[in-house]
């Protein structure tokens, strides 16, 4: 297994410019590339695979330059969105393909992978007859059989139901940790990103917005996109925060914390307004949805939407009801960067 590093990587793609991007991934490690549609995530993966020419920068595998190598000579296996399985071959023949290319006649490893990835029941079937989860297993197995020096997976586990997704996530995690394959995934799913990736790279409009530990991303998201991705239910721009602060004086200390890109905070707990309620912020209920521990309440404060949690012990609030909520300054994160606002 090898360590890969990209420095100042730039791709020009008919009016769209990605980079410069710096990236480093070592054996047994994985990176999640995040960002809105059109941020350049797929372009980055394709450039690493050699499917897209880079105009500047360097790409090295264990110090050896890879930037000008053809895709088949890089040892970086790319799994495209849609998985790129061969429709005219059975699952087993798909898995066998990388072995055939190397002229390996021994099917022992093939059988091992089929067994290990749970492909045995459908090994003789063509991809068109397989479920999404089964196809992902075949794609993962096929990539592994190519002895990848780097695994590049564009949106794994996208159209799979949550239960099957967890199983597959385990399969992928194993490829990274047990087989020590350095991995870069593009994903829109935070569970996939946060379970699989040690580090995250957030792109917006072709530029790097964040590069660092996944934990740091969640603790202090750089912009609105990263905040929503990390699970912050409330993301306000500066203007929104000011409006809310003007309408509701108890919120003012909170508003003072807004950075250039606004602020974000997890859904605060809400409860029936006590009387007198002078120091508590109040919101008006718009609609609510049942949740495991009570209700998720969408409310407004000063015309700005806010998501709250409502405990079941109080009984459900009704639309138009005023509710009070508690919010501590520790929960507020300032967003340093404008942009990335798309939900």
């Amino acid at each position: 297994m090898s360590a890969w590093s990209a420095e100042g990587l730039v791709v020009d793609r008919g009016g769209f410019r990605l980079g410069p991007v710096n990236l480093e991934v070592r054996p047994g490690e994985s990176i999640a590339v995040l960002g809105r549609s059109g941020a350049g995530k797929t372009t980055l993966l394709r450039a690493l695979a050699g499917l897209e020419p880079m105009v500047r920068g360097s790409l090295r595998r264990d110090g050896e330059s890879m930037g000008r190598r053809a895709p088949e000579r890089r040892g970086a296996v790319y799994v495209p969105p849609g998985l790129g399985l061969f429709p005219h071959r059975t699952a087993r023949q798909n898995l066998r393909y990388p072995l055939e290319l190397r002229g390996a006649g021994d099917d022992r490893r093939l059988d091992e992978v089929i067994e290990r990835f749970g492909i045995t029941p459908f090994a003789h079937r063509r991809p068109s007859t397989l479920s999404e989860g089964e196809k992902e297993r075949v794609a993962a197995g096929r990539a592994l059989l190519a002895d990848p020096g780097l695994l590049l997976w564009d949106e794994p586990l996208t159209s799979i139901d949550p239960a099957a997704r967890r199983d597959l996530l385990e399969v992928l995690t194993e490829v990274v940790r047990t087989d020590h394959v350095p991995t870069v995934v593009v994903t829109h799913d935070s569970e996939t990103a946060f379970t699989l990736a040690d580090r995250c790279l957030v792109l917006d409009g072709g530029s790097t917005v964040f590069a660092g530990q996944t934990d740091d991303l969640v603790r202090s998201p750089p912009d609105a996109f990263a905040a929503r991705f990390s699970g912050f239910e409330n993301v306000w721009t500066v203007a929104e925060a000011e409006l809310a602060g003007r309408a509701c004086p108890p919120l003012r200390p909170l508003v003072a914390r807004a950075g250039a890109g606004g602020l974000c905070f997890p859904a605060p707990s809400a409860f029936p307004p006590p009387s007198p309620h002078a120091d508590l912020p109040l919101a008006t209920v718009r609609r609510l949805a049942p949740a495991p521990s009570g209700y998720t309440v969408d409310a407004v404060v000063g015309g700005i939407g806010i998501r709250l949690r409502w405990d079941r012990t109080h009984g459900p609030p009704r639309g138009g009801d005023p509710v009070a909520f508690g919010i501590s300054l520790d929960e507020i994160r300032s967003l340093g960067r404008t942009g990335g606002g798309g939900s």
């Binding site: 695979a49 499917l51 088949e72 890089r74 296996v77 969105p81 790129g84 399985l85 429709p87 005219h88």
Partner: protein, 318 residues
Amino acid sequence: MTSTLSETGARLAHGAPRAVAIVLSASLLILFVLPIVALVTYVPPGTSAPSVPPPPRAGALAPLWPGPGAPTWLVEIAKAAGDPGAETALSFTLFASGIALAVSFVLGVPLGYLLARHRFPGRSLVEAAVALPVVVPHLVAGLALLLLFQPQSPIGSLAIQLGVPVFGTIWGVALVMIYVSAPYTVLASELSFRAVDAGAVEAARTLGASPAQAFQHVTLPLALRGILAGGILTWARAVSEIGGFLILAYSVYPSGPYQGPVTSTLSVYLYNLYQIEGIVGVASTASAFLLLAFGIFLAVRLLERWGRLPWAPRGLLP
């Protein structure tokens, strides 16, 4: 009351247009099929059913030869098919169309690939040029080829020097066939290559396949079925051509790979027969040609459906 009304409404909404569509479709199909039935079952006036059919002949159309008790119209067709002139014209046409099909494939499939997979300046012009032979009336195409290849022209004299004269030769016939039919190969291959999942090809590359290997293992097998279907269309268009032949190769003299008696393409042969003998003389021969063409077409379609084309190993077609 209300429910009855809405039920009627539903029936109207869903039932009526479908019924109309069925009637209109059936009318078109009847228009397609009825003339063929009239032609095939045509018995020239004054013909009586022979008590004993003539003995079978070995020849290209031998499979069409009816056994005892066959209906009169079928016996007539068989008799016409056994005519040596028709047999020569038929085998010549099949031979020439084979050459034309091979050339169309060799030149047309790569062009289809380029159009499907590459962006280059002048692409739209190339696409327009490919469509040109389809929209030009074929008599006009024949005239254009005539001007280009007349012996006085540089290209015409070059062709004669190279030993491939086009007037009244198999080369001329093949040239016309290629001109009018190769666009179908190009268009079919372009569509087929375009339908191949680019992700699968790229995945193959990063799994270690060279561009040539990815083409051989992924692109070509996936596009093959569509390309072959285009080949059937190309062939059908080539053998049914007449306009260009009337100008460039009305009669065909032995030259190059064809060293048989003086003949013509089957379409020109039928046209000749019609000019001389009228419908009475041509109906049976035309029917024989029609049945053969239909038989070949049907056979290819069935083989394709079963995935057992002789040139495509089992499991190759998706």
